[in-house]
Protein backbone atom coordinates (compact mmCIF):
# COMPACT_ATOMS: atom_id res chain seq x y z
CA UNK A 1 0.00 0.00 0.00
CA UNK A 2 2.63 2.54 1.08
CA UNK A 3 5.53 3.13 -1.18
CA UNK A 4 8.79 3.90 0.63
CA UNK A 5 8.89 7.15 -1.35
CA UNK A 6 5.56 8.30 0.05
CA UNK A 7 5.70 10.03 3.38
CA UNK A 8 1.91 10.34 3.52
CA UNK A 9 -0.51 7.69 2.33
CA UNK A 10 -4.22 8.41 2.65
CA UNK A 11 -6.96 5.92 1.79
CA UNK A 12 -10.71 6.53 1.74
CA UNK A 13 -10.44 9.22 4.35
CA UNK A 14 -13.78 10.56 5.55
CA UNK A 15 -14.42 13.19 8.16
CA UNK A 16 -17.89 14.08 9.35
CA UNK A 17 -18.80 16.36 12.20
CA UNK A 18 -21.98 17.74 13.65
CA UNK A 19 -22.87 21.39 13.45
CA UNK A 20 -25.95 21.61 15.62
CA UNK A 21 -28.46 19.18 14.14
CA UNK A 22 -26.73 19.10 10.79
CA UNK A 23 -24.05 16.56 9.94
CA UNK A 24 -21.36 18.03 7.74
CA UNK A 25 -19.08 15.90 5.59
CA UNK A 26 -15.78 17.75 5.50
CA UNK A 27 -13.88 15.03 3.67
CA UNK A 28 -15.45 12.33 1.56
CA UNK A 29 -13.40 9.19 0.80
CA UNK A 30 -10.23 11.09 -0.03
CA UNK A 31 -7.24 9.06 -1.19
CA UNK A 32 -3.88 10.70 -1.66
CA UNK A 33 -0.15 9.96 -1.67
CA UNK A 34 2.44 12.60 -0.85
CA UNK A 35 6.01 11.83 -1.79
CA UNK A 36 8.95 12.50 0.49
CA UNK A 37 10.53 15.85 -0.33
CA UNK A 38 7.43 17.15 -2.02
CA UNK A 39 6.10 20.70 -1.55
CA UNK A 40 2.39 20.12 -1.91
CA UNK A 41 0.02 23.04 -2.27
CA UNK A 42 -3.44 22.07 -1.09
CA UNK A 43 -5.94 24.43 -2.67
CA UNK A 44 -9.63 24.94 -2.58
CA UNK A 45 -12.32 27.41 -1.56
CA UNK A 46 -13.35 28.02 2.03
CA UNK A 47 -15.10 25.01 3.52
CA UNK A 48 -13.66 22.60 0.97
CA UNK A 49 -12.02 20.52 3.68
CA UNK A 50 -8.38 21.42 3.03
CA UNK A 51 -7.62 22.49 6.62
CA UNK A 52 -9.40 19.40 7.94
CA UNK A 53 -7.23 17.21 5.75
CA UNK A 54 -4.13 19.04 6.94
CA UNK A 55 -5.19 18.63 10.59
CA UNK A 56 -5.71 14.89 10.16
CA UNK A 57 -2.33 14.46 8.47
CA UNK A 58 -0.72 16.46 11.30
CA UNK A 59 -2.43 14.38 13.98
CA UNK A 60 -4.47 17.14 15.59
CA UNK A 61 -7.79 15.79 14.32
CA UNK A 62 -9.09 12.28 13.79
CA UNK A 63 -10.86 10.88 10.73
CA UNK A 64 -14.33 9.37 10.96
CA UNK A 65 -13.18 6.52 8.72
CA UNK A 66 -10.36 5.63 6.39
CA UNK A 67 -6.63 5.52 6.93
CA UNK A 68 -3.93 8.12 7.18
CA UNK A 69 -0.38 6.80 7.33
CA UNK A 70 2.43 9.25 7.92
CA UNK A 71 5.90 7.74 7.69
CA UNK A 72 4.24 4.37 7.98
CA UNK A 73 2.37 5.21 11.18
CA UNK A 74 -1.44 5.04 11.19
CA UNK A 75 -2.01 8.31 12.96
CA UNK A 76 -5.63 7.52 13.84
CA UNK A 77 -4.57 4.54 15.93
CA UNK A 78 -2.37 6.52 18.32
CA UNK A 79 -3.78 7.60 21.67
CA UNK A 80 -3.63 11.22 22.84
CA UNK A 81 -0.31 10.90 24.60
CA UNK A 82 1.36 8.92 21.79
CA UNK A 83 0.00 11.42 19.31
CA UNK A 84 1.49 14.35 21.25
CA UNK A 85 4.93 12.70 21.24
CA UNK A 86 4.58 11.80 17.60
CA UNK A 87 3.66 15.37 16.64
CA UNK A 88 6.62 16.74 18.56
CA UNK A 89 9.04 14.44 16.75
CA UNK A 90 7.58 14.35 13.26
CA UNK A 91 5.53 17.43 12.51
CA UNK A 92 6.40 21.10 12.22
CA UNK A 93 3.46 23.49 12.35
CA UNK A 94 3.11 26.87 10.67
CA UNK A 95 -0.13 28.76 11.26
CA UNK A 96 -1.77 31.63 9.44
CA UNK A 97 -1.69 33.86 12.53
CA UNK A 98 1.86 32.84 13.49
CA UNK A 99 0.74 31.86 17.00
CA UNK A 100 3.90 32.86 18.77
CA UNK A 101 3.78 33.20 22.55
CA UNK A 102 3.82 36.97 23.13
CA UNK A 103 5.81 36.89 26.38
CA UNK A 104 8.63 34.84 24.91
CA UNK A 105 11.43 36.14 22.71
CA UNK A 106 11.92 34.82 19.19
CA UNK A 107 14.59 32.41 20.44
CA UNK A 108 12.41 31.22 23.33
CA UNK A 109 9.48 30.65 20.98
CA UNK A 110 11.68 28.56 18.73
CA UNK A 111 13.01 26.66 21.75
CA UNK A 112 9.50 25.67 22.98
CA UNK A 113 9.19 22.31 21.15
CA UNK A 114 12.72 21.41 22.30
CA UNK A 115 11.65 21.60 25.96
CA UNK A 116 9.98 18.25 25.39
CA UNK A 117 13.17 16.60 24.18
CA UNK A 118 16.13 15.21 26.09
CA UNK A 119 18.45 17.94 24.82
CA UNK A 120 20.33 19.99 27.40
CA UNK A 121 20.30 23.75 27.48
CA UNK A 122 23.39 24.31 25.36
CA UNK A 123 22.25 21.77 22.75
CA UNK A 124 18.89 23.50 22.62
CA UNK A 125 20.54 26.88 22.17
CA UNK A 126 22.64 25.55 19.31
CA UNK A 127 19.59 24.19 17.50
CA UNK A 128 17.63 27.37 18.08
CA UNK A 129 20.49 29.47 16.70
CA UNK A 130 20.73 27.19 13.65
CA UNK A 131 16.99 27.39 13.02
CA UNK A 132 16.90 31.17 13.34
CA UNK A 133 19.94 31.43 11.09
CA UNK A 134 18.19 29.34 8.49
CA UNK A 135 15.29 31.81 8.32
CA UNK A 136 17.65 34.80 8.47
CA UNK A 137 16.64 36.07 11.90
CA UNK A 138 19.75 35.51 13.99
CA UNK A 139 19.88 39.19 14.80
CA UNK A 140 16.29 39.18 16.08
CA UNK A 141 16.59 36.29 18.52
CA UNK A 142 16.02 38.43 21.63
CA UNK A 143 13.10 40.36 20.21
CA UNK A 144 9.57 39.79 21.43
CA UNK A 145 6.94 39.01 18.77
CA UNK A 146 5.46 42.52 19.06
CA UNK A 147 8.87 43.92 18.11
CA UNK A 148 8.88 41.98 14.83
CA UNK A 149 7.09 42.54 11.54
CA UNK A 150 4.46 40.05 10.36
CA UNK A 151 6.91 38.46 7.93
CA UNK A 152 9.54 38.13 10.62
CA UNK A 153 7.01 36.61 13.01
CA UNK A 154 6.11 34.02 10.41
CA UNK A 155 9.76 33.23 9.83
CA UNK A 156 10.16 32.72 13.59
CA UNK A 157 7.21 30.32 13.33
CA UNK A 158 9.00 28.52 10.49
CA UNK A 159 12.11 28.26 12.66
CA UNK A 160 9.96 26.82 15.46
CA UNK A 161 8.47 24.33 12.99
CA UNK A 162 11.82 23.02 11.84
CA UNK A 163 13.83 23.20 15.08
CA UNK A 164 13.00 19.59 16.01
CA UNK A 165 14.03 18.51 12.52
CA UNK A 166 10.66 17.01 11.60
CA UNK A 167 10.19 15.08 8.37
CA UNK A 168 6.94 16.86 7.58
CA UNK A 169 6.05 20.54 7.82
CA UNK A 170 2.40 21.53 7.60
CA UNK A 171 1.51 25.13 6.89
CA UNK A 172 -2.05 26.42 7.11
CA UNK A 173 -2.38 29.57 5.01
CA UNK A 174 1.12 30.74 6.03
CA UNK A 175 0.91 33.87 3.91
CA UNK A 176 -2.72 34.72 4.66
CA UNK A 177 -1.82 37.50 7.06
CA UNK A 178 1.16 38.90 5.20
CA UNK A 179 1.76 41.58 2.62
CA UNK A 180 3.02 40.39 -0.76
CA UNK A 181 6.65 41.14 0.00
CA UNK A 182 6.63 39.25 3.29
CA UNK A 183 4.64 36.44 1.70
CA UNK A 184 7.33 36.13 -0.95
CA UNK A 185 10.02 35.86 1.77
CA UNK A 186 8.10 33.18 3.65
CA UNK A 187 7.38 31.13 0.56
CA UNK A 188 11.00 31.38 -0.52
CA UNK A 189 12.04 30.18 2.92
CA UNK A 190 9.68 27.20 2.65
CA UNK A 191 10.94 26.44 -0.82
CA UNK A 192 14.52 26.42 0.35
CA UNK A 193 13.58 24.14 3.25
CA UNK A 194 12.39 21.58 0.74
CA UNK A 195 15.26 22.09 -1.61
CA UNK A 196 18.14 22.40 0.86
CA UNK A 197 16.91 20.45 3.88
CA UNK A 198 14.81 17.86 2.06
CA UNK A 199 11.69 18.57 4.07
CA UNK A 200 8.27 17.54 2.91
CA UNK A 201 5.91 20.48 3.06
CA UNK A 202 2.13 20.51 2.84
CA UNK A 203 0.75 23.98 2.49
CA UNK A 204 -2.90 24.94 2.54
CA UNK A 205 -3.58 28.04 0.52
CA UNK A 206 -6.23 29.54 -1.69
CA UNK A 207 -3.72 31.90 -3.30
CA UNK A 208 -2.59 30.58 -6.73
CA UNK A 209 0.59 32.67 -6.53
CA UNK A 210 1.53 30.98 -3.28
CA UNK A 211 0.57 27.60 -4.65
CA UNK A 212 2.94 28.16 -7.56
CA UNK A 213 5.85 27.78 -5.14
CA UNK A 214 4.84 24.15 -4.58
CA UNK A 215 6.03 21.20 -6.58
CA UNK A 216 2.48 19.95 -6.91
CA UNK A 217 -0.95 21.46 -6.47
CA UNK A 218 -4.10 19.57 -5.65
CA UNK A 219 -7.60 20.93 -5.31
CA UNK A 220 -10.31 20.02 -2.89
CA UNK A 221 -13.93 20.79 -3.65
CA UNK A 222 -16.70 19.95 -1.18
CA UNK A 223 -14.50 17.44 0.58
CA UNK A 224 -13.37 15.63 -2.52
CA UNK A 225 -10.24 15.85 -4.64
CA UNK A 226 -10.97 17.38 -7.98
Amino acid sequence: MASPDNIVVIRDLTKRYSQGDIEVTALNRVSLNIATGEFLALMGPSGSGKSTLLHIIAGVDRPTSGECHVQGVDVARLNESQLADWRNQNIGFIFQTFNLIPVLTAAENVELPLLLTQLNRSQRRKQVAAALDLVGLSDRSHHLPRQLSGGQEQRVAIARALVTDPALIVADEPTGNLDSHSAQDVLTALQSLRRDAGKTIIMVTHDPKAAAFGTRQIHLEKGELS
Binding site: V60, A84, A107
Partner: protein, 381 residues
Protein backbone atom coordinates in the same frame (compact mmCIF):
# COMPACT_ATOMS: atom_id res chain seq x y z
CA UNK B 1 14.69 28.96 28.69
CA UNK B 2 13.49 26.33 31.13
CA UNK B 3 10.00 25.11 32.02
CA UNK B 4 9.97 27.14 35.30
CA UNK B 5 10.98 30.29 33.37
CA UNK B 6 8.19 29.65 30.92
CA UNK B 7 5.66 29.25 33.76
CA UNK B 8 6.93 32.38 35.50
CA UNK B 9 6.71 34.44 32.32
CA UNK B 10 3.15 33.26 31.78
CA UNK B 11 2.16 33.99 35.38
CA UNK B 12 3.54 37.52 35.14
CA UNK B 13 2.37 38.32 31.61
CA UNK B 14 -0.38 40.55 33.00
CA UNK B 15 1.50 42.16 35.84
CA UNK B 16 -1.38 44.21 37.17
CA UNK B 17 -3.63 41.18 37.39
CA UNK B 18 -0.88 39.10 38.99
CA UNK B 19 -0.24 41.80 41.60
CA UNK B 20 -3.95 42.17 42.32
CA UNK B 21 -4.39 38.40 42.59
CA UNK B 22 -1.43 38.05 44.92
CA UNK B 23 -2.68 41.01 46.97
CA UNK B 24 -6.18 39.57 47.30
CA UNK B 25 -4.78 36.22 48.45
CA UNK B 26 -2.38 38.02 50.82
CA UNK B 27 -5.11 40.22 52.31
CA UNK B 28 -7.45 37.28 52.79
CA UNK B 29 -4.78 35.09 54.39
CA UNK B 30 -3.72 37.97 56.62
CA UNK B 31 -7.34 38.25 57.75
CA UNK B 32 -7.60 34.49 58.20
CA UNK B 33 -4.46 34.38 60.34
CA UNK B 34 -5.70 37.36 62.38
CA UNK B 35 -9.06 35.68 62.99
CA UNK B 36 -7.44 32.40 63.96
CA UNK B 37 -5.02 34.10 66.34
CA UNK B 38 -7.84 36.16 67.85
CA UNK B 39 -9.93 33.03 68.31
CA UNK B 40 -7.02 31.28 69.96
CA UNK B 41 -6.36 34.20 72.28
CA UNK B 42 -10.03 34.36 73.24
CA UNK B 43 -10.47 30.67 73.81
CA UNK B 44 -7.11 29.71 75.22
CA UNK B 45 -6.02 32.25 77.84
CA UNK B 46 -2.44 31.86 78.96
CA UNK B 47 -2.01 29.83 82.09
CA UNK B 48 -0.40 31.60 85.02
CA UNK B 49 2.34 30.09 87.13
CA UNK B 50 0.28 29.43 90.23
CA UNK B 51 -2.84 28.20 88.42
CA UNK B 52 -2.41 24.56 89.37
CA UNK B 53 -2.77 25.46 93.07
CA UNK B 54 -5.63 27.98 92.84
CA UNK B 55 -9.31 27.37 93.41
CA UNK B 56 -12.09 29.81 92.60
CA UNK B 57 -15.13 29.76 94.87
CA UNK B 58 -18.21 31.63 93.72
CA UNK B 59 -21.90 31.79 94.46
CA UNK B 60 -23.62 28.79 92.91
CA UNK B 61 -26.43 30.98 91.59
CA UNK B 62 -24.14 33.24 89.56
CA UNK B 63 -20.89 35.09 89.63
CA UNK B 64 -22.68 38.35 90.36
CA UNK B 65 -24.24 37.07 93.58
CA UNK B 66 -22.03 37.88 96.59
CA UNK B 67 -20.85 35.48 99.26
CA UNK B 68 -21.06 36.07 103.01
CA UNK B 69 -17.75 36.86 104.65
CA UNK B 70 -18.47 34.35 107.40
CA UNK B 71 -17.57 31.57 104.96
CA UNK B 72 -13.92 32.53 105.25
CA UNK B 73 -13.31 31.07 108.69
CA UNK B 74 -14.90 27.78 107.63
CA UNK B 75 -12.91 27.54 104.42
CA UNK B 76 -9.64 28.35 106.16
CA UNK B 77 -10.11 25.31 108.38
CA UNK B 78 -10.53 22.87 105.50
CA UNK B 79 -7.46 20.62 105.26
CA UNK B 80 -5.39 21.43 102.18
CA UNK B 81 -6.25 25.15 102.08
CA UNK B 82 -3.02 27.16 102.35
CA UNK B 83 -4.39 30.69 101.88
CA UNK B 84 -7.62 32.51 101.06
CA UNK B 85 -8.54 35.94 99.83
CA UNK B 86 -11.77 37.67 98.90
CA UNK B 87 -11.97 38.83 95.32
CA UNK B 88 -14.58 41.50 94.77
CA UNK B 89 -15.32 43.23 91.49
CA UNK B 90 -15.41 47.01 91.80
CA UNK B 91 -16.18 48.09 88.25
CA UNK B 92 -14.63 51.55 88.47
CA UNK B 93 -14.28 54.09 85.68
CA UNK B 94 -10.99 55.95 85.46
CA UNK B 95 -11.21 59.72 85.06
CA UNK B 96 -13.08 60.64 81.89
CA UNK B 97 -12.97 57.24 80.27
CA UNK B 98 -16.30 56.31 78.71
CA UNK B 99 -16.38 52.88 80.31
CA UNK B 100 -14.36 50.55 82.42
CA UNK B 101 -10.94 50.22 80.84
CA UNK B 102 -9.24 47.92 83.35
CA UNK B 103 -10.54 45.57 86.01
CA UNK B 104 -10.28 46.31 89.71
CA UNK B 105 -10.63 43.75 92.46
CA UNK B 106 -10.68 44.07 96.23
CA UNK B 107 -8.50 41.47 97.92
CA UNK B 108 -6.76 40.69 101.16
CA UNK B 109 -3.41 42.53 100.79
CA UNK B 110 -1.41 39.60 102.11
CA UNK B 111 -2.83 37.44 99.30
CA UNK B 112 -0.44 39.19 96.97
CA UNK B 113 2.35 37.21 98.58
CA UNK B 114 0.43 33.95 98.82
CA UNK B 115 -2.50 33.34 96.47
CA UNK B 116 -1.15 35.51 93.63
CA UNK B 117 2.52 35.03 94.38
CA UNK B 118 3.51 35.11 90.69
CA UNK B 119 2.88 38.88 90.64
CA UNK B 120 6.32 40.44 90.94
CA UNK B 121 6.65 43.72 92.81
CA UNK B 122 9.29 45.33 95.01
CA UNK B 123 9.07 44.69 98.74
CA UNK B 124 8.45 48.35 99.63
CA UNK B 125 5.36 48.37 97.48
CA UNK B 126 4.11 45.20 99.08
CA UNK B 127 4.74 46.58 102.57
CA UNK B 128 2.92 49.81 101.73
CA UNK B 129 -0.01 47.81 100.35
CA UNK B 130 -0.23 45.82 103.56
CA UNK B 131 0.16 48.92 105.72
CA UNK B 132 -2.05 51.52 104.04
CA UNK B 133 -5.74 50.84 103.73
CA UNK B 134 -6.38 53.11 100.71
CA UNK B 135 -3.41 51.84 98.75
CA UNK B 136 -3.56 49.74 95.62
CA UNK B 137 -1.26 47.90 93.28
CA UNK B 138 -1.57 48.18 89.52
CA UNK B 139 -0.47 45.93 86.68
CA UNK B 140 2.34 47.35 84.60
CA UNK B 141 0.30 47.58 81.40
CA UNK B 142 -2.35 49.78 82.99
CA UNK B 143 0.25 51.83 84.88
CA UNK B 144 2.09 52.47 81.60
CA UNK B 145 -1.11 53.25 79.77
CA UNK B 146 -2.19 55.94 82.25
CA UNK B 147 1.33 56.93 83.27
CA UNK B 148 0.65 56.04 86.91
CA UNK B 149 3.58 55.92 89.30
CA UNK B 150 4.07 54.88 92.91
CA UNK B 151 2.66 57.58 95.17
CA UNK B 152 0.13 58.86 92.61
CA UNK B 153 -3.44 59.28 93.79
CA UNK B 154 -6.50 58.82 91.64
CA UNK B 155 -10.23 58.15 91.97
CA UNK B 156 -12.48 55.56 90.43
CA UNK B 157 -16.25 55.92 90.02
CA UNK B 158 -17.79 52.53 90.67
CA UNK B 159 -20.41 51.21 88.29
CA UNK B 160 -21.40 48.61 90.92
CA UNK B 161 -21.37 50.52 94.19
CA UNK B 162 -22.55 54.07 94.83
CA UNK B 163 -19.87 56.75 94.91
CA UNK B 164 -16.20 56.74 94.14
CA UNK B 165 -13.01 55.72 95.91
CA UNK B 166 -9.62 57.39 95.96
CA UNK B 167 -6.51 55.24 95.87
CA UNK B 168 -2.79 55.71 96.27
CA UNK B 169 -0.51 53.62 94.12
CA UNK B 170 1.64 51.48 96.43
CA UNK B 171 3.33 49.43 93.76
CA UNK B 172 3.32 48.27 90.19
CA UNK B 173 3.35 44.55 89.56
CA UNK B 174 4.22 42.42 86.57
CA UNK B 175 4.81 38.78 85.72
CA UNK B 176 1.20 37.61 85.52
CA UNK B 177 -0.30 36.60 82.18
CA UNK B 178 -2.45 39.72 82.28
CA UNK B 179 -0.72 42.67 83.96
CA UNK B 180 -3.70 44.98 83.56
CA UNK B 181 -5.67 44.57 86.74
CA UNK B 182 -5.72 46.84 89.75
CA UNK B 183 -5.88 45.23 93.20
CA UNK B 184 -6.92 47.09 96.32
CA UNK B 185 -7.96 46.19 99.82
CA UNK B 186 -11.28 44.55 100.67
CA UNK B 187 -11.36 46.27 104.06
CA UNK B 188 -11.10 49.66 102.35
CA UNK B 189 -14.08 48.76 100.17
CA UNK B 190 -16.05 47.51 103.17
CA UNK B 191 -15.38 50.67 105.17
CA UNK B 192 -16.08 53.06 102.34
CA UNK B 193 -19.15 51.49 100.79
CA UNK B 194 -20.77 50.42 104.01
CA UNK B 195 -21.54 46.90 102.97
CA UNK B 196 -19.45 44.84 105.31
CA UNK B 197 -20.10 41.15 105.41
CA UNK B 198 -20.08 40.32 101.71
CA UNK B 199 -17.43 39.61 99.13
CA UNK B 200 -17.61 38.87 95.43
CA UNK B 201 -15.94 35.48 95.51
CA UNK B 202 -13.06 33.63 97.15
CA UNK B 203 -9.76 32.58 95.72
CA UNK B 204 -7.95 29.82 97.57
CA UNK B 205 -4.45 28.46 97.37
CA UNK B 206 -4.18 24.78 98.12
CA UNK B 207 -1.15 23.05 99.54
CA UNK B 208 -0.62 20.72 96.58
CA UNK B 209 -2.26 19.80 93.27
CA UNK B 210 -3.23 16.45 94.82
CA UNK B 211 -5.14 18.28 97.55
CA UNK B 212 -7.25 20.25 95.08
CA UNK B 213 -10.06 17.73 94.37
CA UNK B 214 -10.59 17.17 98.08
CA UNK B 215 -10.64 20.90 98.83
CA UNK B 216 -13.13 21.57 96.03
CA UNK B 217 -15.46 18.81 97.23
CA UNK B 218 -15.24 19.86 100.88
CA UNK B 219 -15.83 23.56 100.14
CA UNK B 220 -18.95 22.81 98.11
CA UNK B 221 -20.20 20.34 100.71
CA UNK B 222 -19.59 22.79 103.55
CA UNK B 223 -22.10 25.30 102.20
CA UNK B 224 -24.60 22.92 100.68
CA UNK B 225 -28.18 23.79 101.63
CA UNK B 226 -27.04 27.13 103.09
CA UNK B 227 -28.30 30.55 102.05
CA UNK B 228 -25.15 30.95 99.92
CA UNK B 229 -24.30 27.69 98.25
CA UNK B 230 -21.00 27.81 96.42
CA UNK B 231 -19.37 26.39 93.34
CA UNK B 232 -15.69 25.66 93.68
CA UNK B 233 -13.45 24.87 90.73
CA UNK B 234 -9.86 25.00 89.60
CA UNK B 235 -8.62 28.19 87.98
CA UNK B 236 -8.51 26.40 84.61
CA UNK B 237 -12.11 25.21 84.95
CA UNK B 238 -13.15 28.69 86.02
CA UNK B 239 -11.50 30.22 82.93
CA UNK B 240 -13.08 27.63 80.66
CA UNK B 241 -16.44 28.50 82.17
CA UNK B 242 -15.89 32.04 80.94
CA UNK B 243 -14.82 30.78 77.58
CA UNK B 244 -17.98 28.74 77.17
CA UNK B 245 -19.83 32.05 77.27
CA UNK B 246 -17.87 32.93 74.12
CA UNK B 247 -19.46 30.09 72.21
CA UNK B 248 -21.15 32.40 69.76
CA UNK B 249 -17.98 34.37 69.18
CA UNK B 250 -16.21 31.15 68.28
CA UNK B 251 -18.97 30.35 65.80
CA UNK B 252 -18.89 33.89 64.46
CA UNK B 253 -15.13 33.78 63.91
CA UNK B 254 -15.41 30.34 62.32
CA UNK B 255 -18.17 31.63 60.01
CA UNK B 256 -16.18 34.68 58.98
CA UNK B 257 -13.12 32.50 58.35
CA UNK B 258 -15.19 30.18 56.17
CA UNK B 259 -16.57 33.11 54.18
CA UNK B 260 -13.04 34.51 53.77
CA UNK B 261 -11.75 31.19 52.45
CA UNK B 262 -14.77 30.66 50.19
CA UNK B 263 -14.49 34.15 48.72
CA UNK B 264 -10.80 33.62 48.25
CA UNK B 265 -11.43 30.44 46.29
CA UNK B 266 -13.97 32.20 44.07
CA UNK B 267 -11.63 35.12 43.38
CA UNK B 268 -8.63 32.90 42.66
CA UNK B 269 -10.61 30.46 40.53
CA UNK B 270 -12.14 33.29 38.55
CA UNK B 271 -8.75 34.92 38.01
CA UNK B 272 -7.17 31.68 36.86
CA UNK B 273 -10.11 30.87 34.58
CA UNK B 274 -9.91 34.32 33.03
CA UNK B 275 -6.17 34.06 32.59
CA UNK B 276 -6.39 30.63 30.94
CA UNK B 277 -9.39 31.53 28.79
CA UNK B 278 -7.35 34.33 27.27
CA UNK B 279 -4.64 31.81 26.39
CA UNK B 280 -6.77 29.04 24.95
CA UNK B 281 -5.29 29.51 21.50
CA UNK B 282 -1.74 29.48 22.84
CA UNK B 283 -2.43 26.36 24.84
CA UNK B 284 -3.82 24.73 21.68
CA UNK B 285 -0.59 25.65 19.91
CA UNK B 286 1.39 24.06 22.75
CA UNK B 287 -0.70 20.93 22.33
CA UNK B 288 -0.02 20.95 18.61
CA UNK B 289 3.71 21.27 19.32
CA UNK B 290 3.57 18.08 21.37
CA UNK B 291 2.80 19.18 24.93
CA UNK B 292 0.59 16.59 26.59
CA UNK B 293 -2.49 17.18 28.71
CA UNK B 294 -0.65 16.42 31.92
CA UNK B 295 2.06 18.93 31.03
CA UNK B 296 -0.49 21.65 30.36
CA UNK B 297 -2.22 20.74 33.63
CA UNK B 298 1.13 21.02 35.40
CA UNK B 299 1.72 24.47 33.86
CA UNK B 300 -1.67 25.74 35.01
CA UNK B 301 -1.30 24.17 38.44
CA UNK B 302 2.19 25.61 38.90
CA UNK B 303 0.99 29.05 37.87
CA UNK B 304 -2.01 28.95 40.17
CA UNK B 305 0.05 27.48 42.99
CA UNK B 306 2.74 30.09 42.47
CA UNK B 307 0.27 32.97 42.74
CA UNK B 308 -1.26 31.44 45.88
CA UNK B 309 2.16 30.82 47.38
CA UNK B 310 3.27 34.38 46.72
CA UNK B 311 0.06 35.65 48.35
CA UNK B 312 0.58 33.29 51.27
CA UNK B 313 4.14 34.42 51.88
CA UNK B 314 3.04 38.04 51.79
CA UNK B 315 -0.14 37.64 53.87
CA UNK B 316 1.09 35.15 56.46
CA UNK B 317 4.49 36.82 56.60
CA UNK B 318 2.98 40.24 57.25
CA UNK B 319 0.75 38.84 59.99
CA UNK B 320 3.69 37.03 61.57
CA UNK B 321 5.98 40.06 61.53
CA UNK B 322 3.27 42.44 62.71
CA UNK B 323 2.02 40.28 65.58
CA UNK B 324 5.41 38.93 66.61
CA UNK B 325 7.45 42.11 66.53
CA UNK B 326 4.70 44.72 66.88
CA UNK B 327 3.43 45.90 70.26
CA UNK B 328 0.01 44.29 70.18
CA UNK B 329 -0.92 45.62 73.61
CA UNK B 330 -0.29 49.16 72.42
CA UNK B 331 -2.03 48.55 69.10
CA UNK B 332 -5.18 47.30 70.83
CA UNK B 333 -4.97 49.78 73.72
CA UNK B 334 -4.39 46.97 76.16
CA UNK B 335 -7.37 44.85 75.08
CA UNK B 336 -5.08 42.05 73.93
CA UNK B 337 -1.88 41.20 75.71
CA UNK B 338 -0.40 38.68 73.35
CA UNK B 339 -1.26 37.75 69.79
CA UNK B 340 0.82 34.77 68.96
CA UNK B 341 0.97 33.46 65.41
CA UNK B 342 1.66 29.83 66.24
CA UNK B 343 3.23 27.32 63.83
CA UNK B 344 -0.13 25.55 63.79
CA UNK B 345 -1.91 28.68 62.55
CA UNK B 346 0.83 29.31 59.97
CA UNK B 347 0.46 25.70 58.84
CA UNK B 348 -3.32 26.04 58.60
CA UNK B 349 -3.09 29.23 56.51
CA UNK B 350 -0.41 27.67 54.29
CA UNK B 351 -2.63 24.64 53.78
CA UNK B 352 -5.52 26.90 52.80
CA UNK B 353 -3.22 28.63 50.29
CA UNK B 354 -2.05 25.31 48.89
CA UNK B 355 -5.61 24.03 48.50
CA UNK B 356 -6.54 27.34 46.94
CA UNK B 357 -3.79 26.90 44.35
CA UNK B 358 -5.02 23.42 43.53
CA UNK B 359 -8.77 24.14 43.53
CA UNK B 360 -8.47 27.26 41.39
CA UNK B 361 -6.45 25.30 38.80
CA UNK B 362 -9.02 22.53 38.43
CA UNK B 363 -11.67 24.27 36.30
CA UNK B 364 -9.28 25.87 33.76
CA UNK B 365 -7.25 22.66 33.59
CA UNK B 366 -10.33 20.61 32.82
CA UNK B 367 -11.33 23.07 30.12
CA UNK B 368 -7.87 22.90 28.55
CA UNK B 369 -7.57 19.12 28.68
CA UNK B 370 -11.00 18.73 27.11
CA UNK B 371 -10.21 21.23 24.36
CA UNK B 372 -9.06 19.79 21.05
CA UNK B 373 -6.25 21.49 19.16
CA UNK B 374 -8.62 22.34 16.33
CA UNK B 375 -11.14 23.92 18.71
CA UNK B 376 -8.39 25.85 20.46
CA UNK B 377 -6.93 27.16 17.22
CA UNK B 378 -10.33 28.47 16.22
CA UNK B 379 -10.52 30.52 19.44
CA UNK B 380 -10.25 34.21 18.82
CA UNK B 381 -7.34 36.03 20.45
Amino acid sequence: MTIPTFILKNALRNKRRAILSISSVAASLFLLVTLQVALRELTLPPESAGAELRVAVRNRISLTNPLPVRQRSLIEKIPGVAAITPFTWFGGKYKNEGGMTFAQFAIDPKALGTVFAEAKMDMTGYQTFVAKKDSCVIGKITADKYDLKVGDRFSLDSTVYPGSLTFEVAGIYSGTPDDRNMLFRQDYLDDSIGMPGYVGMWWLKVTSPEAMPGVIATVEKSFANSSAEVKAESERAFQLGFISMLGNIRMLVASISTVVVFTLVLVAASTMSMSIRERFRELAVLKALGFRRRELFAFILAESFGLSAAGAVLGIGTAYVLYTYGNISQMTHGILISFEVTPRIIGFAALVAALLGIVSAIAPSLAVTRMSVVQGLKTLD
